[in-house]
């Protein structure tokens, strides 16, 4: 019998390896009718900024071959409204909740995390977004520099005992170096990848597809890129890697585990089917039986 439980860190156990990725599942309260959120292994909230953020002007999404390009611009309610309006609901969930935070400065990251630490006591931890390709907050300036990554991680480490995962950008020359910096700074896990920098326009009119011009590419198109990144990170650090990028089938989950991931996140595929994470679990168990393994740990990092 397949056992899907994942020990993510000392204090964090997931009922299964599948989490909803930041920015693709709101604050978990958007889809109660369509899906039982509690059946997910975990849930990462939309990235929070210090102040409410309306995001970029429309248009902010466009479909590309097997991909989705977006420049939402971290539209979110801000940490204050989150603590007052969303956290109470999130704390009633059985699933492990990770709050994603995004600052424009190290100080902002500190302030956001501090505010949540003060109000919340049942969340599992944080995902630190230093890899959003289309804004200043949570921006890639952080995610492309190993030294800033280490400094930021170390700062946040002092503020909480909860699980901290640093979410990395694929838009760098050596993602393994950034992962190592996060490890040195005291991170508990690395999540990867955020979206890949991309651009599109209407060819005939020249109209930009995103008001922000530049956006982030997600979806099946980036799966091989994400697998290479996860493989590189898993080889560089001894922290658990939470892999994502284009996952849309149980086979894809296995691919990320084989590349070295301990758990996975699903993003864009939720837009096709908000229940996809939960639906893939049955199929995942089936595949595990076919492979004659009881835990995913048995194939983690195993490529022949």
């Amino acid at each position: 019998m397949a056992n899907l439980t994942i020990q993510l860190g000392r204090d964090v156990t997931l009922s299964n390896p599948v989490m909803a990725a930041s920015g693709t599942f709101g604050y978990g309260d958007e889809v109660p009718d369509l899906v039982d959120v509690n059946q997910l292994g975990g849930l990462v909230t939309k990235s929070l900024t210090l102040r409410p953020n309306e995001g970029h002007a429309p248009p902010r999404i466009v479909e590309t071959p097997a991909g989705l390009l977006n420049a939402i611009g971290l539209a979110n309610i801000g940490v204050e409204a989150f603590c007052a309006g969303k956290l109470p609901f999130l704390e009633t969930l059985q699933t492990q909740v990770f709050v994603s935070i995004a600052g424009a400065t190290v100080g902002e990251y500190v302030d956001i995390l501090t505010a949540i630490e003060r109000s919340g006591n049942k969340i599992a931890g944080y995902e630190i977004n230093i890899s959003c390709p289309n804004v200043d907050e949570g921006g890639m300036e952080f995610g492309v520099s190993a030294s800033i990554t280490e400094t930021l991680t170390a700062k946040l480490r002092q503020l909480t005992g909860r699980f901290i995962m640093i979410k990395l950008s694929p838009n760098v020359t050596h993602i393994d170096a950034i992962a190592k910096a996060a490890e040195s700074g005291g991170a508990d896990g690395i999540s990867a990848i955020n979206t890949v920098v991309g651009l599109d326009m209407d060819p005939l009119t020249g109209q930009r597809s995103l008001s922000n011009l530049i956006g982030g590419l997600s979806g099946p198109a980036i799966r091989p890129i994400a697998l290479a990144a996860v493989h590189s990170i898993a080889g560089a650090v001894s922290l658990p890697v939470i892999g994502m990028g284009g996952i849309s089938s149980a086979e894809d989950i296995i691919r990320f585990v084989r590349a070295g991931a301990t758990a996975v996140q699903i993003g864009t595929a939720n837009y096709r089917d908000p229940a996809v994470g939960v639906n893939l679990l049955a199929r995942l168990e089936q595949l595990m039986e076919q492979m004659q393994i009881e835990t995913l740990e048995e194939i983690r990092g195993v490529i022949h």
């Binding site: 709101g26 958007e30 369509l34 248009p59 999404i61 071959p65 979806g219 864009t268 837009y271 908000p274």
Partner: protein, 253 residues
């Protein structure tokens, strides 16, 4: 280049639908296209749901190849729907595939015996599936004059006013169509201070409020729902797709 008609047996869902709402259709199992395609509900008949659509790309092309008996994955009904309780004599204006949500409203108004006029515009006659019959409440317009009034739906509207087939004021407009038509409608309604609702066709990734991708800029800040995370935008999929024309910023349409 005509319109395709699709009838889907949807069961209980049919009873929930209201004119102006849409369904989000998975056009295939692969990744081309990757996302669902939003389609206005063009009518409900018992437990059947009707769509009217134009083939413009891979998704709609895949739909056009569906066979009787195929099983389809769709989410719905979604969105707010028309506010049919608006005052005034209802004039429904649909351009091209934009006829779909308007046609459903037309059917509902017929059912409740509410006097109204339906104007359907298109480039040429091949998209038309109705008969031009202004005296019984249905007008057509074509760009090339091949059916009904030669010109736009607004030209047809003017003709109807001239012919006193509809009132000159106190109209309540319900429009859906290509951007040019929507803008013209919004301008017209603004000039004549008429009530006007427009069903927008913003690009959507999820259709259910998850992606924040379908934001619509509002002319008047404030009073926007909290889930839109801001004062300036609403989400077309859950706050729309129907908006009051006077609340929209023109470039948005």
């Amino acid at each position: 280049m005509g319109l395709y008609r699709l009838v889907l047996r949807v069961g209980d869902m049919a009873a929930l639908a209201r004119p102006g709402q849409f369904v989000n259709v998975l056009t295939g199992a692969g990744w081309d296209p990757l996302l669902r395609r939003p389609m206005s509900i063009a009518g409900i008949d018992g437990r059947e749901l009707q769509l009217l659509y134009k083939v413009v790309g891979n998704g709609t092309a895949a739909m056009s190849r569906w066979q009787s008996g195929d099983e389809i994955d769709l989410l719905g009904p979604l969105g707010n729907g028309w506010d049919a309780a608006a005052d005034g004599f209802p004039v429904l204006l649909g351009g091209g595939a934009g006829i779909a949500p308007v046609y459903y409203l037309h059917k509902e108004l017929l059912r409740s015996s509410t006097a109204h006029h339906l104007i359907m515009g298109s480039r040429s006659t091949e998209e038309h599936f109705l008969q031009h019959d202004p005296h019984s409440g249905i007008s057509l317009s074509t760009d090339d004059g091949s059916a009904g009034v030669a010109g736009t739906v607004l030209d047809a509207l003017h003709d109807l006013m001239e012919a006193a087939l509809i009132p000159r004021s106190g109209l309540s407009l319900y429009g859906c169509g290509p951007p040019g038509m929507m803008r013209a409608l919004a301008d017209f309604a603004g000039q004549h201070e008429m009530d006007c609702q427009l069903a927008l066709e913003e690009i959507m990734a999820c259709g259910i409020g998850l992606c924040q991708g379908c934001n619509v800029a509002m002319r008047l800040p404030g009073n926007t729902p909290e889930h839109s995370y801001h004062q300036r935008y609403r989400l077309s999929c859950i706050d729309g797709p129907v908006f009051k024309a006077k609340e929209l910023v023109t470039w948005q349409i």
